[in-house]
Amino acid sequence: MMAVNVGEPVEQELVLANTTVKLKKSGSGDPLLILHSEMGNAGWLKYQQELAKDHTVYMLSHPGCMGSDQPDWIMNMRDLAGWYLQAIEELGITPMNVIGLSFGGWIAAEMAVMSPQTFNKMILVSATGIKPEEGEIFDIFGVTPQVFQQKSFFDPSNTSEYQIVCPDELTEELALEWEYARESTCRVSWRPYMYYPALPNLLNRLKNLETLIVWGSEDEIVPLNSGQIYNRNIQGSRLEVIKNCGHRPEIEKVGEFLKLVKEFL
């Protein structure tokens, strides 16, 4: 096996579930799958570097995102979750732990209800997928990517990695990364927007999956109420709310985020 540097991931192109996809892999230890958000997976940030010290971190570009082909047949979230289950089985890393970020959290939850034995432990971070009983999920497609990024943070100016995820001078590469990610997200989340009505009921199946739910207290993208419904419907789950934090705790409050995750895993 290729030696893996903890700082920067090895990038591979491989065929999984009949689809050419890009994989970023880093670290050593038991496998940890990260499912990225609706904005793609540019860069290799501090939370990823830290997690790679204790785990072998796997991060695929979702189908249709930068470096991965878009299978024509993926038209809704069930299709995407089914694709992912096959892909990680072919990677040979199941069962393993998973962290799902925002839209990636929705994918994780759908995979879990389809196949609970796939995951050892599940961490959902600001996950979409559930229609809140109070408030609404902010419409990512009604604003430009820059506006969405800004709204995803409680205090962008005091977030050290904000310039990496949303630089003042946008590069063409990052613009494409966003565009492809939004496009592939849009395919499965346009209508109903960013949730599946039956998901809360389906979550009742998860009785033996240890689940940590992490939310920012100031999340303006997905209301905390969605996190509370995840928490209510996944038996034995725990909801942790990080103060003065927006939609991206793994970037905005990386220290607190890592502490919660490391303790849980």
Binding site: F141, G142, V143, T144, V147, E179, R182, E183, T185, C186, R187, W190, R191
Partner: protein, 413 residues
């Protein structure tokens, strides 16, 4: 040559504070909407269409936009249905129904068949993909916009032409029973025309289907480029296209004096905000104009090459004087507009044209004066130009074969 009339049917209400102001597209609450004003405006615009027919126009071009004051007609088939019954001769050219926002294209096929029959075969059925606004306003999936357009198109053609009942199990549309009890009067089906502004893919698709292409108020040079792309694509597809395959919409207002014409033509730019009218276009919403996947990755690049990086908006966001200068607005007395119209005809060689008038803040009286002068002096002269320049519409020469249509009467006698 076919000569048609068009207006966006703009919202006009001085008491709303919306006139002449800049605003963001899709950013105006309908709390500003006064249905009493709406009632009189809808009837005014219909009256103007009736008068246009009386003044000798060969066709009405109708369109629709959604959730926006710059175009009141949210359901183009309603306007078409009323005109089908209330007018006698003019073609009813819908440009067009926004196919991807229809979840039930069978219902659309039925409506269009009814309009064709009630009008005794005067319908031209245009289809469009619609911009981001239309997808957004009706929550239609932008990433499947082109697929839904093409599948709905194929489905409607089949619904018009193949006896039912039959099944349709498509990617985006499924029916167990297709057997509409209404079929178009024009056989095998009404002409399909495709309007376009920016999409190179659409120009090629239209040429591949041998449908007439309508360019909407684009500048002359990119319009000619798009027409050339159509001709080249036709050649690749083994047929010779001509004037019968091309139509062009442009702003023309005629008035009694030069001073009056100039004063009124400026009203194109002083109505409610309209991203399609330079000068008062307001702010477009960049996120909604480029919804994810609405335009293919390939097409984005082609458009940039063909129309410049800002696409259509790069050609249109210009002051009144500039538009008068490059003939995207033509205004004057009949005597002064005719040479300019002639230049457009010579430069682009379209077989069908539409005068875009009565828009922005123009009043009913402004429009009626213009329609009268067009009828008295402009239309007869332009018709002569069409003959001299051999500009034939798709009702005179078959756009699929280039052959003269034997039964073709003079479109307007």
């Amino acid at each position: 040559m076919l000569i048609g009339h068009f207006t966006e049917q703009p919202w006009q209400d001085d008491s709303s504070g919306l006139m002449g102001t800049q605003s963001t597209d899709l950013g105006i609450s309908n709390s500003f909407y006064n249905p009493a004003v709406g009632a009189s405006l809808y009837n005014r615009y219909l009256d103007e269409k009736l008068y246009a027919e009386e003044m000798g126009f060969d066709a009405f071009m109708l369109n629709e936009h959604h959730s926006t004051p710059f175009c009141m007609q949210g359901v183009t088939n309603i306007g078409a249905a009323i005109l089908a019954r209330q007018t006698k001769k003019a073609k009813i050219i819908i440009l067009g129904n926004v196919l991807p926002i229809w979840d039930d294209p069978l219902w659309l096929a039925e409506q269009l068949s009814m309009i064709d029959m009630i009008s005794y075969g005067r319908l031209v059925s245009g289809f469009v993909r619609g911009g981001g606004r239309e997808s957004f306003a009706h929550n239609a999936p932008p990433h499947f916009n082109r697929e839904r357009f093409e599948e709905a198109h194929d489905f409607i053609i089949k619904a018009w032409t193949e006896p039912g009942p039959w099944r349709w199990e498509g990617k985006h549309y499924q029916y167990r029973y297709v057997n509409p009890w209404a079929r178009p009067l024009q056989q095998p089906h009404p002409q399909i025309w495709i309007p376009s502004t920016v999409s190179v893919e659409t120009v090629k698709w239209t040429a591949e289907h041998r449908y007439p292409l309508v360019l909407l108020a684009t500048k002359l040079e990119p319009t000619r480029d798009a027409f050339q792309l159509y001709h080249d694509t036709a050649k690749e597809n083994g047929y010779k296209s001509g004037t019968q395959n091309l139509a062009y919409l442009f702003k023309v207002h005629v008035d009694e004096t030069e001073e009056k014409a100039d004063e009124v033509a400026r009203k194109y730019l002083s109505g409610v905000s309209n991203p399609f009218l330079a000068g008062n276009e307001g702010q477009i919403n960049p996120a909604i104009m480029s919804l994810p996947g609405h335009t293919s990755r390939t097409s984005n690049r082609l458009q940039a090459a063909a129309f410049g990086p800002a696409g259509r908006f790069g050609t249109n966001r210009r002051p009144y004087e500039d538009q008068v200068e490059d003939l995207t607005i033509i205004s004057g007395t009949p005597k002064t507009v005719l040479p300019k119209i002639r230049h457009v005809l010579e430069y682009l060689r379209p077989g069908s044209i539409f005068f875009w008038d009565g828009d922005g803040a123009m009043t009913h009286e402004d429009q009626m004066r213009s329609l009268r002068l067009m009828g008295e002096e402009v239309i007869p002269a332009v018709r002569e130009m069409g003959k001299e320049l051999e500009l034939f519409s798709s009702f005179e020469v078959d756009p699929r074969t280039g052959e003269k249509i034997e039964s073709a009467e003079e479109v307007s006698s």
